[in-house]
Symmetry: C2
């Protein structure tokens, strides 16, 4: 990707950093090629290192109490240039305090990038202000023009790279983070691996190929998934393509994964799971389907195997997370690993034989 980084970002996550509603900010703290991340705004964690709050490891990114402080404390050589909305609230609407922060950011001359459903660029007052201050507002969830969209054709069958779908048993369960860690581990092992992103956070992180699934008109979803995977393959000729999942197959509100299976036609599935989670994210009336049931459903619908389970350790100590992996191994017969805790190398080992022998795979 040329032109990266585009600038120096302050990530707005007031009241939500470290919660599922802050997952866009989490993604940016963990990695992005699109920006140099200067700081995260959340008054609840002001003074901490964002990486410490998130993963227990310093990331060199300070949490600031407010925008003014974030701008003031930016290093002289890397002044703040971008205000990135790091909130991902259910429903994607910007809270009132957030709107005021966006206004202040534009006043301060920062570009604004947002993955919310509320399009900031369509707020006449903010749009006018941005024009006056000469800054850009990018609503990354804004659907592309229809004439740039693709229908499914079957050209996905030309893709001979190993296609790995990184799906999950719920939304906001860590699919994207695991997908990046897997791609990076594959690359460290000398494999040509690429991520195809499907959400606004992957875009904000500067993924090479991808779409923003949520924002597509439904009838183009299959074709755009196919086109993204196919473009990634034809342009970069990787040995492995990891496809970022969205939602989860059996989630009542975000029944994702299905179109990724149908149109992305993965060869194998890696399934991200949070053992301590009892209900679908945001829907306490809907108990999470048990892991073995979810594996069975995915394998029946896709006719492809789930080859590993990756574990999200939310609400678990490291010892508990490793014990949960052991339980999953016993119950499912599949490898299970917490990749944030123990790395993605064992996943690479699981996939290696499939990459080496493409003829046997097909």
């Amino acid at each position: 990707m040329s032109g990266f980084p585009e600038g120096n970002a302050v990530v707005y996550c007031e009241g939500a950093f470290g919660t599922t509603n802050g997952k866009t900010a989490h993604g940016l703290v963990r990695r992005t090629r699109r920006y140099r991340v200067l700081s995260v705004i959340d008054s609840r964690h002001a003074g901490s290192d964002a990486g410490e709050v998130l993963d227990g490891r310093p990331a060199g990114i300070a949490v600031q109490p407010d925008l003014a402080t974030a701008i003031e404390r930016a290093p002289r050589e890397t002044p703040a240039t971008h205000f990135v909305v790091g909130l991902a609230p259910d429903g994607g609407r910007l809270p009132e305090a957030g709107r005021a922060a966006v206004e202040a950011a534009i006043e301060a001359g920062l570009h604004v990038d947002s993955g919310l459903h509320d399009f900031i660029s369509e707020d006449p007052r903010l749009a006018q202000l941005a024009a006056r201050r000469g800054v850009a507002i990018r609503d990354v969830r804004k659907p592309p023009a229809r004439e740039r969209l693709h229908f499914f054709t079957g050209k996905i069958e030309q893709v001979t790279a190993l296609k790995v779908a990184l799906l999950g048993t719920d939304s906001a369960v860590g699919k994207r983070t695991t997908a990046w860690l897997l791609v990076e581990a594959l690359q460290r092992a000398g494999r040509r691996a690429e991520l195809v992103g499907t959400g606004q956070t992957a875009w904000l992180q500067g993924v090479g190929h991808g779409i923003i699934l949520d924002s597509l008109v439904n009838d183009f979803v299959s074709g755009e998934i196919e086109h993204a995977v196919w473009s990634c393959f034809t342009e970069t000729r990787p040995e492995v393509i990891v496809l970022e999942g969205q939602g989860s197959l059996l989630n009542p509100a975000y029944p994702g994964g299905h179109e990724l299976i149908a149109a992305g036609r993965p060869d194998v599935i890696v399934l991200q799971h949070a053992p301590a989670r009892t209900h679908y994210d945001g829907f306490p009336a809907y108990p999470l389907h048990p892991l073995p049931h979810q594996i069975r459903a995915l394998e029946l619908v896709s006719e492809k195997p789930v080859v590993a389970v990756t574990v999200n350790h939310e609400q678990l100590t490291p010892a508990q997370a490793r014990a949960a992996c052991e339980t999953i191994r016993r119950e499912t017969g599949l490898p299970a690993v917490d990749v944030l805790l123990d790395g993605a190398e064992s996943l690479v080992e699981t996939l290696a034989p499939l990459i080496a022998r493409p003829d046997e795979r097909r």
Copy 2:
């Protein structure tokens, strides 16, 4: 529904009547409350009765060779007022001849209704012409404004009507027609039954409640399905709601049904199937999954039973269609019926015990 019929329609289906690309026209010939249908345009069948071509039964709707003839032959008391695009080509784009016909229709002072992906109202020349001639262009697939859309909340659980999902083993397989026949048979049997439509054809037919699934931004699909079913229930208090399916679970290009199951939360599934079809509609490289496999996948994903199979007799004689029903009964243990041939009464009998005893059902 008040205000129906809205006018007298000429249905444009040049080159496609009687083929899967003509399915919008087929729906309008079979039933619509929105218009009085005067005629269908398809020069290949000019002079025939549209019902004869379609179902072997006269419908009192003539097939005309072109627009001029269709306008000229309209009864004096019901002059043509609407030009309805009855084509549903793969990809939803209007062929060049179709565009010329639209232009001629506007010139002749007809309103234009279209369910294509190509928005006729966004063609500057046609839009200008329509303004000059004082006629309306309605692109029914145009997505609603975001502020009118709903997210999934779980209010679907308030719906105590029996919810029947009419799904299919493929796209363009007759789900909508069967859904209407089922609703009408239920009503004849004294049941309060309502259809919730999910496509542009059901809208053109004047369905009371519904959405146009294909045209929704993906993230709103679950919430809009829930809201349509919930609105239908709260406004009309039916005993049975039949939910029109889209696509099919395992179709690579149109993996529909999944969000209907997740968010519509049907109690039972009726599955429409064309026994003579070997490949997914429009995709000869993708063989249709066998019926038992599709039933297994639907039941596993939905955790609800498929209670009947309805048969589309394309490429089959009546005797062959009935033999196919018998084979399906034997293979699946489920009732199977060709409702166009033998009516939907047996389906009503299958569902009756579930309607009568709602407490046992939940």
